[in-house]
Amino acid sequence: MDWMKIMSAIFIVVMLVFLWPRAGQMLRESRKGSGSEWLVVVLLLLGVAGFVAFLMHGVSAKPI
């Protein structure tokens, strides 16, 4: 395994160590969203996913 992989792995582990307690705190303190609130989020993220798929199709399409 090369140094880049080892450094990347260390970087990710350090991020996990820092984010873990914050995630627990945010899970405890976040208010619960209603069904309609989550529906709005899902629709917005579906829009983003569709847009990214459109960009990927545009880049992968071969010129005539």
Binding site: A9, L27, R31, K32, E37, F51, H57, V59
Partner: protein, 221 residues
């Protein structure tokens, strides 16, 4: 007798503070994006090696975790934000160089740039104009981030291209969620420091751009 209604005065003061926070955050975000792009240009011109890019990422993360929280309320915070975004721009240089050397690389980079801008502007505009409260997403987004990081750690050893693409797609969706969450925190309270907000939004944009580059590069292959 005072003609001022304390409730109305308090509300207009709070609205003024919110507008100022939003204005300062977006002004600072524009400046840091230009600065970061310039630093990426310098890194590309100097042909900075990949290892240097990882060192720059370590440096910027150390500044975000240890220095920014202590300096965010002082003028030193401004320098810290420019140091963070400059280092991240420097780290981005080798990645952009890699994609530019691919066939049709310039199209990939420009599409990723335009796509990132469009996603950010659309989601920010939605959160700002509707003034919806997305604070309920906080826990979900953090857990999602941890799951993605664990999967990234695993993929460092297994190196599955399909998993790499799935992770990039997941990061784009997570960061889109964070844009809604952060913008809503600015509008509805929960955030009062424009430097911290600038770095949060900058990280969202940065991660969307890098993941979009990865997805577009893979789809080109």
């Amino acid at each position: 007798m005072s003609l001022e209604n304390p409730t109305v005065t308090g509300r207009s003061e709070s609205l003024l503070a919110t507008n100022q926070l939003i204005r300062n955050t977006y002004l600072m975000l524009s400046l840091t994006l230009v600065w970061s792009a310039a630093m990426a240009g310098v890194a590309m011109w100097l042909n900075v090696p990949n290892m240097m890019s990882l060192v720059a990422m370590f440096g910027s993360m150390a500044l975000i975790w240890f220095v920014l929280p202590r300096t965010a309320n002082s003028s030193a915070g401004l320098l810290t934000v420019f140091a963070i975004t400059g280092l991240m721009g420097l780290g981005l240089g080798p990645t952009i160089n890699y994609y530019l050397h691919m066939e049709g690389g310039d199209q990939i980079v420009m599409t990723a740039l335009g796509g990132t801008g469009a996603i950010f502007l659309a989601l920010s505009a939605y959160a700002l104009t509707t003034r919806r409260d997305f604070s309920f997403m906080g826990g979900f987004l953090m857990v999602g981030m941890i799951v993605v990081l664990l999967a990234m750690l695993g993929n460092l050893f297994f190196h599955l291209p399909a998993l790499s693409m799935a992770l990039s797609a997941a990061v784009i969706l997570l960061m889109s969620g964070f844009i809604l969450y952060d913008t809503s925190r600015m509008v509805n309270g929960g955030a009062d420091n424009y430097l911290m907000m600038t770095v949060s939004l900058y990280l969202n944009i940065y991660n969307i751009f890098v993941s979009l580059l990865n997805l577009l590069g893979a789809s080109r292959d």
